[in-house]
């Protein structure tokens, strides 16, 4: 009786649930994944849906126009029931997403999980970092306070420095010669449609490639595995619950402010981007803009193609590992030191 109902209904809804369940829940997870260090990649994967949900909620109240953007953010933060909380979660989840992607990248780098045949997934991951930083940039530009307005002006001006097509790109991005109504609607469309869709596609590719290869096994762990469900699922649920609590806590004790309303004829004395752009921002203060952007572009290319460059370092495996450890440590230290200098000297 039960079987026949199932058979009958699967005629109407011709999808094999058990096959999908097997793919989703019976993945073999290597035992090293029991260490929390390896749960870093799950974090942005949980934070992204939280951003979608809270972002959707904010979109019910936010109005992307120069006259009303700031006022609607103020309205959300001060008038709407739990508005400060939803906005706070959206703000903090964006920050945590950047942090967790950095940490995940560091884990992948130092366990050399990008090595053949996983070079492509390293590149997909890096594209996800780029998209996340872009969506953060377009996001905080929407609040239309002094800092976000001038960050949008300075940030989009950098696009103008791209050789040959810079000015065209700048005009496309701003929808005019200055940051204004068209810029706001463009940033809004990018922030709520284009970038989330691109990120969703990239996450799907990232996970499909990951599942295709199987999770890379670092040295020094037994070659055993366990089912995704329930053991690993517990871990993901616990990470999710921890993140929700942390976000709620941050939203309550460190709520984002609304700042001063954007004034296009008045640049404030101290302008700074969000902290994750500090290192680049500081570097660009030291060198001429075109030289700086050239070097930043070069560094990005080296990181993107690192899985292909690393084998060229040395033929000896131990030497390769040593050099990439050193280079990685220097890069991370530089990033941290630059960020700290910018934090404490401005």
């Amino acid at each position: 009786m039960v079987m026949s109902t199932q058979a009958e209904s699967s005629k109407r809804f011709p999808v094999d649930g058990t096959a999908i369940g097997d793919v989703l829940f019976k993945e073999k997870i290597p035992v090293h994944m029991k260490h929390w260090l390896f749960a870093m990649g799950t974090t942005p994967f949980i934070l992204f849906p939280i951003q979608i949900i809270t972002g959707l909620m904010l979109a019910f109240y936010f109005i992307p126009s120069p006259e009303l953007a700031y006022e609607s953010v103020r309205h959300i933060t001060q008038d709407v029931q739990l508005g400060f909380w939803i906005r706070g979660i959206h703000h903090w989840a964006a920050n945590l997403m950047i942090i967790s992607i950095f940490l995940h990248m560091m884990r992948v780098y130092f366990t050399q999980a990008y090595r053949k045949p996983r070079e492509l997934n390293w590149i997909f991951g890096f594209i996800l970092l780029g998209l996340t930083m872009t969506i953060s940039f377009t996001g905080y530009s929407l609040t239309y306070n002094q800092l976000s307005y001038w960050a949008a002006t300075v940030g989009s001006n950098m696009v103008g420095e791209v050789p040959l097509i810079g000015n065209l790109l700048l005009a496309w991005l701003r929808g005019g010669s200055d940051v204004g109504t068209n810029t706001l609607t463009r940033f809004y469309t990018l922030h709520v449609w284009v970038l989330p869709i691109l990120i969703t596609i990239m996450i799907a590719l990232h996970i499909i490639v990951l599942r295709g290869h199987g999770i890379s096994q670092p040295e020094g762990f037994p070659k055993e595995s366990y089912n995704f469900f329930p053991g690993h699922m517990y871990k993901i649920v616990i990470v999710g619950l921890f993140l929700l609590s942390l976000l709620s806590l941050l939203a309550v004790i460190l709520p984002p402010g609304i700042g001063d309303k954007a004034d296009p004829v008045n640049t404030p004395l101290h302008i700074q981007p969000e902290w994750y752009f500090f290192a680049v921002f500081l570097f660009l203060k030291w060198v001429p803009l075109s030289v700086g952007l050239f070097i930043v572009g070069l560094v990005i290319l080296v990181i993107v193609f690192w899985p292909f460059l690393e084998p060229l370092l040395s033929k000896k495996e131990s030497q390769r590992a040593l050099i990439s450890y050193l280079l990685g440590s220097v890069a991370i230290l530089t990033l941290i030191v630059f960020t700290l200098i910018e934090t404490f000297t401005n």
């Binding site: 739990l82 909380w85 939803i86 649920v237 619950l241």
Partner: protein, 155 residues
């Protein structure tokens, strides 16, 4: 694979599963509740209180009577068009205005702000007219609606 399904579900495993997924369901429920609250527009009306401020025959036409409500001065003005009630707090920087019957005006001594008996700014720095209360006439009595002050422990 077969052994997994055949594996006897122990009490410990059952409790663990209930704990983890129970917490998840609770958290999602609480989160959903917050989303609903955020989505619902606030329908709360500011609670107001009716205050008796004057008797109609007590204030001659063109004159004002000063009283104090909740520690702040309030002026009841009798105009041709009826009664108007203004807050006595100057809209410039919060000093208390005076009614000058001979000059037919409200005068703020701090920065020489001048308002006419309709509450409009005539001279000086005040950015907007005097704040006005909602007036209700009930036969011979003049009432105003005053928003209740709600004081939390932190305000």
């Amino acid at each position: 694979m077969e052994t997994d399904q055949a594996e006897k579900r122990t009490r410990r495993e059952f409790l663990r599963r209930m704990g983890v997924f129970g917490a998840l369901i609770l958290a999602m429920g609480a989160f959903l509740r917050q989303l609903l609250v955020f989505f619902s527009p606030s329908m709360k009306k500011t609670p107001t209180h009716k205050f008796l401020v004057a008797k109609v025959d007590e204030v001659p036409l063109g004159q004002a009577k000063e009283i104090t409500i909740q520690g702040k001065p309030v002026f009841v003005v009798h105009l041709e068009s009826g009664f108007k009630v203004f807050s006595g707090v100057c809209t410039h920087l919060g000093c208390i205005v005076k009614w000058e019957p001979n000059n037919d005006r409200f005068y703020c001594p701090c920065h020489k702000g001048v308002f006419n008996r309709e509450g409009d700014v005539m001279e000086g720095p005040p950015p907007r007219p005097l704040d006005e209360f909602v007036v209700e006439l009930d036969e011979n009595l003049v009432f105003i609606q005053v928003a209740d002050k709600r004081k939390g422990p932190w305000s």
